[in-house]
Structure formats: structure tokens, C-alpha cells
């Protein structure tokens, strides 16, 4: 560092101009023979001429002669001579000798030039890098009274620089700051700034550094190569210590190599020109050497930074990482984007794209993130980041339950290059694992099974292996392949007795046994599970399922085994106890609700209505705000109705509808509406029913029009109360307006599904089905959506899809009273597929379900006739058509009977039994159930045609 030396040089020159000395005259060279006055005069003359070497002998002579004298006047002369001798020695370059003289000078009084002497000592010490001594000298200088501003400035400079060189970072900052503040010299200021910033970095005084950095950025000090290297080194160290903020501050100081070299080269040119100019006018050799040294130092730094490997991208990358870490996502994003765009195939480019996408995900800029991922995968499937990017996109979509998107990425996953790298293999294992869940989410459990099997077979080292065994069982379970599932869960338990899903696997086995209708085995497993994992996450469900098993037992003696007493009057009590436990151990609102309402069903079987009310109150108290209040109110009302408290129940229902009906997700409200309509229909007089309708209308006038969900529910309730015409009108108007389905709840959806089917509106059938399934999967009315979907598919002649929907619906609802349509459609579909031999038994199945008795029987019988007819079995067909009009003439206002008559007559014509045919038409005309229908006109025409024969 040349700052202090150069500055000191100026001071020396200044000193020489102002220093006076006693005037003596002398001429001789042999001073030992001369008097003191002559010697001094000679020295003075030489000094004035600038002959410092010549001045040394006379001055030395004076010092030698006067050294031991005690006379104050002579001592003063001695001290002056010492000071001038030291000055001359300095000038001739013999600084050590000069410093020796100055030491003697400073040890004796008087010291009129003490400040200058101290500065000269400091200069000497600078030459030998004796920072400790300089520190002492500078401190001594600063302690002197009445220092001039110039002296104070230089003393601080010396002290600051000495401390800096001695790496006393904290101590050097104050004197250097003084220097930076007070100096008028731009270069000195900058040099001080550089030293201060460096010292602050080394001292890790970040708070103060933050103040200095903007100041440094406003000067050329920012181009100092040493400063940049220091900042980079310190930033890297801090980065590795996770000190993000301070690392950021330092990294932001680092300029590009190009900028630093350009600036430094310009500086060399500037300094060289100045030196050349000064050399022409004359410049002391010492100064010239200093300048050359400075230029050399810059050259050396340029060389040093040129030799460094490229650092700019790494710095930018780290800054980006820090920004990301400090939640400054967008700043990180633009840096990563630049790095990646400039060198997409480089190592750092590959790292940047990962960070870039990660940042976009953190910002929830999903479209941008996916665009980047897909664009990378399209262009660089063999790129270093391909698998990781794929993993990110799959993970994000999995978390969002967007299985279809995950599955859409399989083509990329399958084209990833093969690898032997352990990390890459591990990522690939993860990809298959996620792909398995993607398929799981889309309901393609077979494809999911395939992916889990790939992990088991091809990725034995994968961390996902144990889970894959478990989920393999789940894929079987979801496809109702219960025995396979039981086996898979068994394998998991055997292989991973400490596995995360060990207890889950046991529970699932119980569920699967239930699926196999092996209730006794299931019960055993649930009991084992409850005893082994009394606080497990599935314990509530285990209690509920065991309760379901108990509740399903009839408790009666089996007549087939009269010698064995199977009678068990306690079975329902045990079921209730299990449900109560299930409520108490529930970890989710759904678990508690299931148990509570199943228990209510059991009480209902036993007509224990007060118990139902008590149970619901217990449930409401237990779950508080998590309780399904509407469902609970439904059960309380139901119990009240059964106990004859009709008005109380109606009031409670109405109150619950108004209170919770605005929430689409309160499905219990829909059950209440159902029950309310049923009560109104069967328990109220016509007059009371009308009064209730008026009351409903009045209530609706008080409701804010923005409460659309509640208003729609009440409108549907009112329409259901008023009858089919009102229901159809309401549904039809809603569908015509194509209103948003966001406000629609299951009871309304059911109405809309039925209206859409009645009006053959296939577009709405599809839309309603999608919405219903997506939003109210557990609704009791979901079957109406399946029905709508089946009709939509039937209209499109997509027979395979129809049979799949029917199968799914029947799998869910079996032969419940409202499911007869499914079997009819099944028959119709098979018929359309010309599979008459399969269609006939399908129709026949309808006849075997007592709950479907009614018009469906007539339709099924007629369907069987159609099958026979299609097979040219006219006799058989005639029999079924005849049965249709004989057995079911009253159903559907005689519609099926009319069809039966006409079809039966047609069969008779085919059998060449015209008379019987005419008789059939005549019977039809005379039959009171059908003779008002339009179909009779056909019969009359046929009689006209064949009657005379």
C-alpha cells in the first residue's frame, strides 16, 4: 500500500521548505578542525543547495561534539543538528541511519520538530513494514497537543494503515474513516474506502459494511480487484455457513472480470501517461519507482484475476440461491433464467433450470413452471436436469390431485435415458412411484399396479420399495381383487414388520375380508387391530366396521342347525358400543359422523327414538364445530317425527335448513329436505301441507337474494312439496338458463339429472354427472347422476361405456329400490347390441327384485318379449307381450299394456293367426286401462285392415 508513503513524501517536501536553520558560514571539508559555527554554516549551505550527502559529515560532526554537553543552548543546537542529520540521511536513502538519529532526537528535550520527527520515523518504519512500531509512533503523534489538521490527518493515515497491515481489522476502521472523511485527495479517499470495506469484511462488521457499500459503489473503488476478490472469498465462506444475507451483500459487490480488467487497464494507461509527463518535467527517482511499482501491482492483479476460472455465473447463481432463500423469488428467478438461457447445456445451466422451476413453483406460477419443464423435456430429454424437472412437475400435480397431468408425463418418463448413477436411479424410482399414484388418482389401478411392480422389480434399492409393496395391495383392493390385496398386504407385513404402513396393512386386510364377505375373519382382524393399535389412525374406522359387522348379524337362531344355539340378543348392543368407541376415537370429523349416524340407524332398527336423540346430542357435544350438525338435526327430527312430535320436528328442520342451507357442503340439509317432504306428504293434511308451503314461501321472501345456495334449496323443497309439474318446471328452467352448478347441492342435482333425462338433454346429462361425481361422491342421490350418464351414453350408442357405468352404479347401490332403471338400461343396451340371449336374462333379473315391482316389471316383461321377437321366436314373444298386458295393465297408466297388446297382435300375425290378432286388438279397445291411450288408434286401424277376414 503506497498511500501513506506518498502522502508522507509530500509532507517531507513541505517541511523542507519551511524549516529554518541557524545561519553559519563555512568552507572547509575537514570539520574536526573547524569551529561549530563554521560547520553549521557549511551544513546549512549544502542543505540549501540540496546537497544532502554533503551535509551529512558536518551535521554528524556537530552531533558528535555536542552529544555529551549539558548547556541548554548547546543541547538545542545538538537537537537541531540531529533532526537535520536525520533528514539528510532520509534524503540520501539511508533511512535506518536516519531513524537511529531520530530515536536519539526523540529521547531528548527540546524537541521542537517532534511531530515531523515522529512522521519521519513512521516513514522509516513503513519501509521495513514494522507495523507495530508505526502504530506506537502514530499513537504518540496523535497524543500530542494542538495538532494541526494536516498532522492529525497524516497521523490517522499512518495509524489506520499500520493497523490495517497488522490485520487489526476492527481497530483500523476508525483512523481510516477519519482519513476518508477529511482527505481532500480523491485517490486517498478511495484507497481509504477500499481498506475500510476490506477491514469491515474481515472484521465481519456487516452492519457498518452496509453503510459503506453504497458509498463505495459511487466511486471507482468498486473496481479494485483486491476488494472484489476479498468480497468474493468472504461471500463464499458466508454462503457455506448459511449466512445468506451477509453473503448476498458481499456477492453483490463483485463485478465481472471483464469490467475489472477494463477499468484496471485504463488506470494503467492513465498512470503511465502521468508518469511519462512528470518524467519530462523531472521527478525524484523514488517517486518514479513508487509509480512504476503501483502500475506493476495493478498488472499483477490483472494477471491474477485473468487466471481465475470464470466466476460470474457462479456468483450470479449463488446470488439467485440467496434471493430464493430470503423469499425474494422474482430476483432469483431472473438470475436463474439468464444463466440458463445463456448456457442451457452447461453444468451451471442445468442447475439454473432446476432452481428456476423451483422458484416458479414457490411463486405458484404453475403455468410458467410447467412450460419451462415441458420445453426442457422436449428439447433435452437426455439433459442432466430432465429427471429432476419431471419429478418436480409430477410431484406438484400429485399434491394437487391432478393425476391426469401426472399420467400425461409418462411418455417423458419412459424415454429418459438408462443410467447407472445411483442418484439418478433413485430419482427414476421416485418417478415410477409418483406415476403409480398418478394412475391411482385417475382410477386406473391396473396401471398403478404396473408401476409399483416396476419399482419392486427394477428398483430394489429404491427408498420407495416398502411403500410400493403396501400400495400394490391398495391397487388390488381398489379393484375389488380382495384376495390379491390380502396377499400383498401380507407380504408387506412379512417383509417390513417395522414398516410405516404395518398397522395400516392389517387394517386393510380386515377391509378386504369384508369385501370377500368373510365377516368373521374381518371381525377377528378388526379386533386384533383395535387391541394392538388402540390409538392408531384407523382405530375409529375399525370400530365402525366391526360395528357394521355386528349390526348386520340378525341375532337369530339358524334353522339349518337346530342343534346349535346361535341366538345372540346382544349383537346390536355390541354394534352400538363399537360405534360409540368409534366416535370417541375418531381423528377426523368424517370418522365420527359415520359412527354416529350408523349408530342412529341401529337405534332406528330397534325403534329407540329417544336414544337417537340422546346419541345425536352426545355427538354434537363431542365434536362441536366439527360435527355434521345438519345430519344430526335430521336424525333428531326423524326421531321426533317417529315419537309423534311432528310440529317440533318440522320447526327444527326448517330452522336447520335456514341456518345451514347456505353452505353447499352441508349435505345433511338435503337429507332434511327429503325427510321434510316425506313428512309433509305422509303426516300432514292437505290443509297443513298448503300452510307449510305458504310458510316456506314467506321464509324465502326474507332471504337475501345473494344467498343463492339456500334459495335454490328452498325452491327445490317447495317444488317437491307441490308435485312433479313444479319439479319439472323448476329443473327445466334451471337447465335452459344453463346456470352455474356451483350453487347446486345433491337434492337439486338429483332433480336436474331426472329432468335432463326426461327432456333427453344429453349435454346437460354429461355436465350434471361430472359435477355430481366430482363434488358429492358420497351423496345418497349420486345414482341419479349415474342414471343420467347411462342415458347420455345410450343416446350416443356407446354401449360398452353404458355397461361400465351400469356396473359401477350397481356395484355401489346393488338392487336398492331406486336402482331398477339400471337393470332395464342394461337390458336395453344388450338388446341394442343385438345380444338378445343376454338381454332377455337381464330383463328377467328385474322381475326377481321385489323392490322394483311396478312399471319396471311391465317394461322388463315387454323387453323379454322384444328379445324373443328379435330371435324370431314369435310364440315366446307373444307369451311375454301377453303377460305384459294381462299382469301389468295398471302400471304407467296402461302404457306398457298398450304396447304389449300391439306387439302381441303383431306376433300373432307373424304366426298367421289373424283372427287371434284381431281379437287381441278388440280386447285392447275394450280394456278400460288402455282404451283412452293414442295407441288404440293403431288397434282400430288394424281391425279395419284385418277385421273382415
Amino acid at each position: 500500500m503506497t498511500l501513506a508513503f506518498r502522502s508522507y513524501g509530500k509532507l517531507i517536501r513541505g517541511f523542507l521548505l519551511i524549516t529554518s536553520f541557524m545561519a553559519f558560514s563555512a568552507a572547509a571539508q575537514d570539520y574536526s578542525t573547524l569551529g561549530v559555527s563554521d560547520i553549521v554554516a557549511s551544513a546549512n549551505l549544502k542543505l540549501k543547495r540540496g546537497d544532502y550527502a554533503g551535509a551529512i559529515p558536518p551535521l554528524q560532526e556537530v552531533v558528535d561534539r555536542f552529544r555529551d554537553l549539558t548547556d541548554p543552548a548547546k543541547i538545542e543546537v545538538l537537537q537541531n543538528a540531529r533532526f537535520q542529520l536525520a533528514r539528510a540521511l532520509y534524503k540520501t536513502g539511508d533511512i535506518p541511519a536516519g531513524m537511529e538519529v531520530l530515536t536519539e532526537y526523540l529521547e531528548q528535550e527540546p524537541r521542537k520538530q517532534e511531530r515531523m520527527a515522529l512522521r519521519m520515523v513512521a516513514q522509516g518504519l513503513f519501509e521495513v513494514h514494522d507495523w507495530e512500531q508505526i502504530e506506537k509512533v502514530a499513537a504518540k503523534l496523535l497524543a500530542l497537543p494542538d495538532l494541526s489538521p494536516d498532522d492529525r490527518l497524516n497521523a490517522n493515515l499512518m495509524l489506520g494503515q499500520a493497523l490495517f497491515q497488522a490485520q487489526k481489522w476492527k481497530e483500523c476502521i476508525a483512523p481510516l474513516t477519519y482519513m476518508e472523511r477529511e482527505s481532500k485527495d480523491k485517490e486517498s479517499k478511495q484507497a481509504a474506502q477500499i481498506m475500510i470495506v476490506r477491514a469491515l469484511v474481515e472484521a465481519e462488521d456487516w452492519k457498518e459494511l452496509f453503510v459503506w457499500i453504497p458509498r463505495v459503489f459511487r466511486t471507482d473503488a468498486k473496481y479494485d480487484i483486491t476488494l472484489n476478490l476479498t468480497a468474493m472469498k468472504a461471500a463464499k465462506a458466508l454462503f457455506s455457513q448459511d449466512d445468506a444475507l451477509n453473503s448476498l451483500v458481499l456477492y453483490r459487490m463483485v463485478l465481472s472480470r471483464e469490467m475489472l480488467i477494463e477499468f484496471s487497464n485504463k488506470r494503467i494507461v492513465r498512470l503511465s501517461r502521468k508518469l511519462a509527463k512528470d518524467e519530462k518535467t523531472g521527478i525524484p527517482e523514488k517517486i518514479r519507482k513508487e509509480r512504476l511499482k503501483e502500475i506493476e501491482e495493478i498488472r499483477s492483479l490483472i494477471e491474477k484475476i485473468t487466471e481465475l476460472p470464470p466466476y460470474e455465473d457462479e456468483v450470479a447463481f449463488r446470488i439467485g440461491k440467496i434471493y430464493h432463500e430470503l423469499l425474494r423469488y422474482w430476483e432469483g428467478y431472473v438470475l436463474f433464467e439468464k444463466i440458463y438461457t445463456e448456457a442451457p447445456d452447461s453444468e451451471i445451466g442445468a442447475a439454473a433450470i432446476l432452481e428456476l422451476v423451483l422458484t416458479l413453483y414457490d411463486l405458484q406460477e404453475i403455468d410458467r413452471a410447467e412450460e419451462q419443464v415441458l420445453s426442457y423435456l422436449e428439447a433435452r430429454i437426455t439433459g442432466k436436469s430432465a429427471s429432476m424437472l419431471l419429478s418436480m412437475m409430477m410431484r406438484d400435480n400429485l399434491l394437487k390431485q391432478n393425476g391426469e397431468k401426472v399420467v400425461s408425463l409418462q411418455k417423458y418418463m419412459d424415454t429418459l435415458p438408462t443410467t447407472t448413477d445411483a442418484d439418478e436411479t433413485s430419482i427414476k424410482g421416485d418417478l415410477h412411484y409418483m406415476m403409480a399414484f398418478g394412475h391411482f388418482q385417475t382410477g386406473d389401478h391396473k396401471a398403478s399396479e404396473d408401476q409399483f411392480n416396476i419399482i419392486i422389480t427394477d428398483f430394489p434399492e429404491s427408498q420407495r420399495l416398502p411403500d410400493s409393496y403396501y400400495y400394490l395391495g391398495m391397487t388390488y383392493m381398489m379393484r375389488a381383487e380382495y384376495q390379491n390385496a390380502i396377499d400383498a398386504f401380507g407380504v408387506y407385513q412379512e417383509k417390513y414388520p417395522e414398516g410405516e404402513y404395518y398397522s395400516d396393512a392389517i387394517f386393510r386386510q380386515g377391509v378386504c375380508f369384508l369385501g370377500l364377505n368373510n365377516a368373521s375373519e374381518a371381525e377377528k382382524i378388526f379386533t386384533l387391530f383395535i387391541e394392538t393399535y388402540p390409538t392408531g389412525k384407523f382405530v375409529s374406522e375399525a370400530y365402525s366396521m366391526r360395528g357394521d359387522i355386528e349390526a348386520s348379524k340378525d341375532g337369530q337362531d339358524d334353522p339349518k342347525t337346530p342343534d346349535v344355539d346361535e341366538y345372540d340378543p346382544e349383537t346390536l348392543d355390541r354394534a352400538l358400543a363399537d360405534y360409540r368407541k368409534a366416535m370417541d376415537t375418531a381423528s377426523t370429523p368424517k370418522q365420527a359422523a359415520y359412527a354416529a349416524f350408523q349408530a342412529a340407524e341401529v337405534y332406528k332398527l330397534e325403534f329407540k327414538w329417544q336414544e337417537v336423540i340422546d346419541l345425536m346430542e352426545y355427538y354434537l357435544n363431542l365434536k362441536g364445530s366439527d360435527a355434521d350438525v345438519a345430519q344430526a338435526v335430521f336424525w333428531i327430527g326423524k326421531a321426533q317425527i317417529s315419537m309423534g312430535q311432528i310440529n317440533e320436528a318440522i320447526e327444527a328442520y326448517l330452522d336447520a335448513i335456514l341456518k345451514f342451507g347456505g353452505d353447499v357442503n352441508q349435505e345433511g340439509v338435503d337429507k332434511i329436505i327429503d325427510e321434510l317432504i316425506s313428512v309433509a306428504e305422509y303426516r300432514l293434511s292437505d290443509e297443513d301441507r298448503e300452510l307449510f308451503a305458504v310458510k316456506l314461501k314467506l321464509k324465502m321472501t326474507d332471504i337475501d337474494p345473494t344467498e343463492k345456495v339456500l334459495l335454490l334449496r328452498l325452491n327445490v323443497a317447495l317444488a317437491l312439496l307441490m308435485g312433479e309439474e313444479e319439479i319439472n318446471a323448476l329443473g327445466s328452467s334451471f337447465l335452459k338458463e344453463n346456470q352455474s352448478l356451483k350453487i347446486v347441492t345433491p337434492i337439486s342435482l338429483a332433480v336436474l339429472c331426472n329432468v335432463a333425462v326426461a327432456e333427453d338433454d344429453t349435454e346437460q346429462m354429461g355436465r350434471l354427472y361430472e359435477h355430481f361425481v366430482e363434488n358429492f361422491e358420497d351423496s345418497e342421490k349420486l345414482w341419479t347422476a349415474y342414471r343420467a350418464k347411462a342415458y347420455q351414453l345410450l343416446a350416443a350408442d356407446d354401449f360398452i361405456a353404458v355397461t361400465n357405468v351400469i356396473e359401477e352404479a350397481q356395484g355401489l347401490y346393488g338392487s336398492d329400490s331406486f336402482m331398477g332403471w339400471s337393470q332395464i338400461i342394461k337390458g336395453d343396451t344388450l338388446f341394442k347390441m343385438k345380444l338378445y340371449d343376454e338381454a332377455e336374462p337381464a330383463y328377467n333379473t328385474v322381475m326377481g327384485v321385489p323392490a322394483w315391482r311396478g312399471p319396471l316389471y311391465a317394461e322388463a316383461m315387454y323387453g323379454m318379449g322384444k328379445c324373443r321377437l328379435a330371435n324370431q321366436d314369435f310364440e315366446g314373444a307373444h307369451t311375454f307381450f301377453q303377460r305384459t298386458y294381462l299382469l301389468f295393465k295398471a302400471y304407467a297408466n296402461g302404457e306398457w299394456a298398450a304396447k304389449g297388446y300391439l306387439a302381441a297382435a303383431d306376433c300373432l300375425l307373424e304366426l298367421d293367426r289373424k283372427e287371434d290378432a284381431v281379437k287381441t286388438w278388440k280386447d285392447m279397445i275394450e280394456n278400460d286401462y288402455v282404451n283412452t291411450l293414442p295407441a288404440v288408434e293403431t288397434a282400430k286401424k288394424m281391425i279395419k285392415k284385418y277385421g273382415d277376414t
Binding site: K207, F210, V211, I213, P214, F217, R218, K222, L245, V249, R252, M253, L255, A316, I319, G320, Y323, L326, L327, R328, Y329, W330, E331, G332, Y333, V334, L335, K338, L363, E365
Partner: protein, 280 residues
């Protein structure tokens, strides 16, 4: 942006301390071909001024269009202004400057050394949300071609005042006129990016605005003139995007890095706003 200007101004013009008398006004009058005279302007008569050269017995009439510059002797306490600026007492500085240049108001349409004071006023009015006043001054300075750097700066203030004053259409037209909305890339100058970000934010296109301001910060971290205002704009946009944690982090960093700055004050205020937003 602002500090450089303030610092330059203070180190230069405030060195001039003189006595300004009510009438006549001491001035150095410059005309073409580097001609200049010291003297007093006695009065103004439309497009003419009456000017008396020192030691000349009689004043003469000079056409305003022939005057290239007037150098007035402005009486101002530079130390006090510096102190007030340091303490961010902008209203006080505005008042002081207003008083100092008031005697020369009659000549403020003629190029003069008052431009420097007006430039400071332009910036201070902007800082104190007096956008119309800032705009009035910046529009005048923008027409003065003597100092291209200052002219450029005044254009920046013009557009900033338009944006912050909510004049979207005018701001867009202005930006388009100078092509500042073209080719906004990573290496675009920070001032262009900053202005683009401000305009986009005003139009509530926050993601696009954030992209621009993020580039100022990411690629111009050694430019404190634009870095500091960009940082606070960035915090504001994070707030608008609902990324409160990010906004608070930027505020925290501003408070750490830029102590005693207008951005520090803005960050403190923004933190209070975020707190309220979180509570809503």
C-alpha cells in the same frame, strides 16, 4: 438516482455564496461565441431585458433569445440545506430554495444557473408527492439542452411524476415516444426497467412489473441510484402480489442496507401497511 444528484449539486453549486439584491440583480450574462459580461439586469420587458454592464454608464436592451445563460448570484446556506437533506426535511429545503430563487423568478424562462436549483426542487417535489409541481419543473428542464445528463434526468422525473400522479395514458405516450418500452431485456438500463415496472404496477400487471424490477435489482446491484428505489418498489409489488413474507423481507433488508434514506422511511411505512393487510 436522487443521492447522486443531491451530492453533485451540493458539491458544486452550493459553493457559490453571494449577495442577491432586490433590484437590480447582479448577474453574469452570457451570449453566443463565448461572450460574457458581468453586470446587472435592471428590468424585463417581454422578450427584452435591460442589462447594465459593470462600469458602463448606461444600460442596454438585449433580446432574450440572444442570451445563452444568466449566472445569478444565489444566496443560500449550503450547510443548512445539506443538514436538512441529510435529515430528509424536504419541505424545509423546498422552502429555502423557493426563497433563494424567488428574486430571479422574472427570468426563470431564460437558461440560467437556476436550473440546478430547479432540478433539486423537481426531485424534492417528487419526493414529497407534489407530482404536478415536479412535472412543471421537469418539463422545463427537459427543454434545456445545455446539460444532457440533467436533461435525461428531467425526462425520467417527468415520466415518474406522470406515473405516480396516476396519469397512465400520458405516461404511456411519453414512454412510447422515447422508446423506453421497447426491448426490455436483462441488460436494459436500470432506469428503463424501473420506469416500466412502475407503469406496469400502476396498471396492476404485477407479475410483469415484478419481472422488470427484479431485473433492476438482480443485474444492477452496484447502481445505488436505481437499486434503492427499485428495492422499495419491489417490496410494494410483492405486497400487491400478496407475498407478504417476501415483501417484509425486502423491507427488512432496505432498513438494514439503506439507513437514513427515503427508502428506509418508505419501508417502515410499508411494513405497517403489510401488518394491517395481514390482519384483514
Amino acid at each position: 438516482m436522487n443521492k447522486v444528484f443531491l451530492a453533485g449539486l451540493l458539491s458544486g453549486i452550493f459553493l457559490m455564496v453571494g449577495i442577491a439584491e432586490a433590484q437590480p440583480i447582479t448577474v453574469e450574462l452570457k451570449m453566443g461565441a463565448k461572450r460574457s459580461w458581468r453586470g446587472q439586469v435592471i428590468s424585463r420587458d417581454g422578450e427584452w431585458i435591460e442589462f447594465k454592464i459593470d462600469n458602463s454608464p448606461k444600460p442596454m436592451r438585449i433580446g432574450v433569445e440572444k442570451v445563452t445563460e444568466l449566472i445569478f448570484e444565489v444566496e443560500i446556506d449550503t450547510e443548512k440545506i445539506s443538514k436538512k437533506l441529510e435529515n430528509r426535511e424536504y419541505d424545509g429545503v423546498i422552502a429555502m430554495l423557493g426563497r433563494a430563487i424567488k428574486p430571479f423568478a422574472e427570468y426563470d424562462d431564460i437558461p440560467s444557473n437556476l436550473t440546478k436549483y430547479n432540478a433539486l426542487l423537481m426531485e424534492l417535489y417528487y419526493r414529497t408527492w407534489e407530482y404536478d409541481k415536479s412535472l412543471l419543473i421537469s418539463s422545463k428542464i427537459a427543454k434545456d439542452s445545455r446539460n444532457p445528463a440533467l436533461q435525461k434526468k428531467s425526462r425520467m422525473y417527468q415520466v415518474l411524476a406522470l406515473i405516480d400522479g396516476g396519469k397512465v395514458a400520458e405516461a404511456e405516450a411519453f414512454i412510447s415516444e422515447y422508446g423506453w418500452d421497447q426491448n426490455l431485456a436483462d441488460d436494459t438500463s436500470p432506469e428503463k426497467l424501473y420506469i416500466a415496472a412502475k407503469l406496469l404496477a400502476l396498471k396492476k400487471q404485477y407479475s410483469e412489473a415484478m419481472l422488470c424490477v427484479a431485473k433492476v435489482i438482480a443485474f444492477n446491484s452496484q447502481d445505488p441510484d436505481w437499486m434503492q428505489p427499485a428495492e422499495i418498489l419491489c417490496a410494494e409489488i410483492y405486497t400487491e402480489l400478496g407475498l407478504y413474507d417476501s415483501a417484509e423481507e425486502v423491507c427488512r433488508q432496505i432498513e438494514l442496507f439503506y439507513r437514513d434514506s427515503p427508502e428506509f422511511d418508505a419501508a417502515v411505512k410499508l411494513r405497517v401497511r403489510i401488518k394491517k393487510l395481514r390482519a384483514e
